[in-house]
């Protein structure tokens, strides 16, 4: 069973080896240097890659 106790467990693989159709796959987020706490709170996320703001009025 591939879980966090398995020595082969590597959640940093962005996509699994096998991606057959009929299923959805979200890439695993790799670790990145987080925002500092103040910026994290202001942006609503500690991770710059997930900082995806809404652009009001964008056509």
């Amino acid at each position: 069973m591939l879980n966090s106790k398995n020595p082969n467990y590597n959640p940093d693989f962005r996509f699994p080896e096998q991606t057959p159709i009929g299923m959805a796959y979200i890439p695993f987020q790799p670790w990145e240097e987080p925002y500092d706490a103040q910026q994290g709170l202001e942006r609503g996320t500690m991770f710059p890659s997930l900082d995806l703001p809404f652009k009001r009025g964008a056509v």
């Binding site: 966090s4 467990y9 959640p11 940093d12 695993f28 670790w31 987080p34 706490a37 994290g40 996320t45």
Partner: protein, 84 residues
């Protein structure tokens, strides 16, 4: 911003970092870097809490220190403007 708001803001900042790292660790439980940041913010948060509750009262009921009055119920409550 008064001193109470400043300290509360610090707590909110550190606790947010902890929460977001918590969720990341739920799906990356072996990630040493994330764990390191978690412990860093856990310590910062604990210090900020200690300062806050000493001056401004409890954030959870078991932090009440008064032997005279049940300060848990005191204003302001978080949905009131003066608490923010």
């Amino acid at each position: 911003m008064n001193e109470r708001q400043r300290l509360l803001k610090l707590i909110q900042m550190y606790d947010f970092a902890i929460k977001d790292l918590n969720l990341y660790l739920d799906t990356h439980p072996g990630c040493a870097a994330a764990l390191q940041y978690f412990h860093k913010y856990k310590e910062l948060s604990a210090k900020a809490y200690d300062q806050y509750i000493k001056l401004y009262g409890p954030i959870i009921p078991k932090q009440v220190t008064s032997t005279e009055h049940w300060t848990w119920i005191n204003s302001p409550w978080p949905w009131e403007r003066s608490a923010n």
